[in-house]
Subunit: 162 residues, 2 copies
Amino acid sequence: MSTAREGTTAKEAIRQTKPFRSTGQEAVITLLLTAETVRWALHAELSGRGDLTAQQYNVMRILRGAGRKGLPTLEIAERMIERTPGVTRLLDRIERQGWVARDRSTEDRRQVICRITSEGLALLRALDSPIDTLDERMVRSLSAAERRTLIRLLNKVRNDAP
Amino acid sequence: MSTAREGTTAKEAIRQTKPFRSTGQEAVITLLLTAETVRWALHAELSGRGDLTAQQYNVMRILRGAGRKGLPTLEIAERMIERTPGVTRLLDRIERQGWVARDRSTEDRRQVICRITSEGLALLRALDSPIDTLDERMVRSLSAAERRTLIRLLNKVRNDAP
DNA sequence: GAGAATTCCTTGACGCGTCAACCAATTTGG
DNA sequence: CCAAATTGGTTGACGCGTCAAGGAATTCTC
């Protein structure tokens, strides 16, 4: 959707002449298009500074939140926006960069505990404010009430997806 | 986010104890989580029947819309929810399955025209109604007014992402 | 018209997602 | 306790995304 960000409605972005078959369909397609746009903006912001991908950034934030004691691999996976077993390889790469460290737990030797390093923390610190700004810019045209509404409606969708 | 679909708010899904730093951040994260949930449902539905991925399905729908005359590769890319050069390889795979055919255009021999085959059309026909049902189920808890609101707010976000 | 620029793809390298299969620890149950 | 099940994580195969680089037509420019 190279040009989608210039359009107004999903219909235009998709260049579809036929209307959507239902509001459900329109909502779903608009949701996916919008998420893609946001994902893209994040990607652009992150690859400018440092060399983190969005998912790596995500993992690092989770680990920062976990503090000194760190988290076992699967705990991280559970908290991520994306899904599991890629997490192992994701961590491999971040570890190679020196931003996280992994150790096998001593209490339960099946677990691998992941911790963010001080280099990792420094990197995040540099990213915090640009990303906050970006988040804000994404929704700059929505009033406070509209933001709350959007969040509420999205949560409703999320909760009846199963 | 193996367990995210059971939660209620993004905050719970993410198991974050700290509140979001801004409603902008909450909106962005909720949006990404929700899109992921929807993407997942689609994936599940599609891999049950036939053996299409969501992106392949997307391309086939675009080609069906284009009709007999087909579309050049980059035109497809422009209409997709995702981004370009993977499209070539995506088409490679669908072509291997016999669902699309490609020919070099005679007027402009740089272009490769893609057309859906009758097998492709048959496959889509079988998928149409289950997917319509799915789209509907995704938003079943939203009233008609709420759907319109959601669509409107998402479009606002999409249009000020640049 | 011959070269330069542009357009339309395609390819290679690599990050990430999915699934299925697989160890190694740990727990459970007879 | 010891075998069987469960849990935590890793690996292989493969689909798709990104970027950067390149080849083949076509168009532009002088």
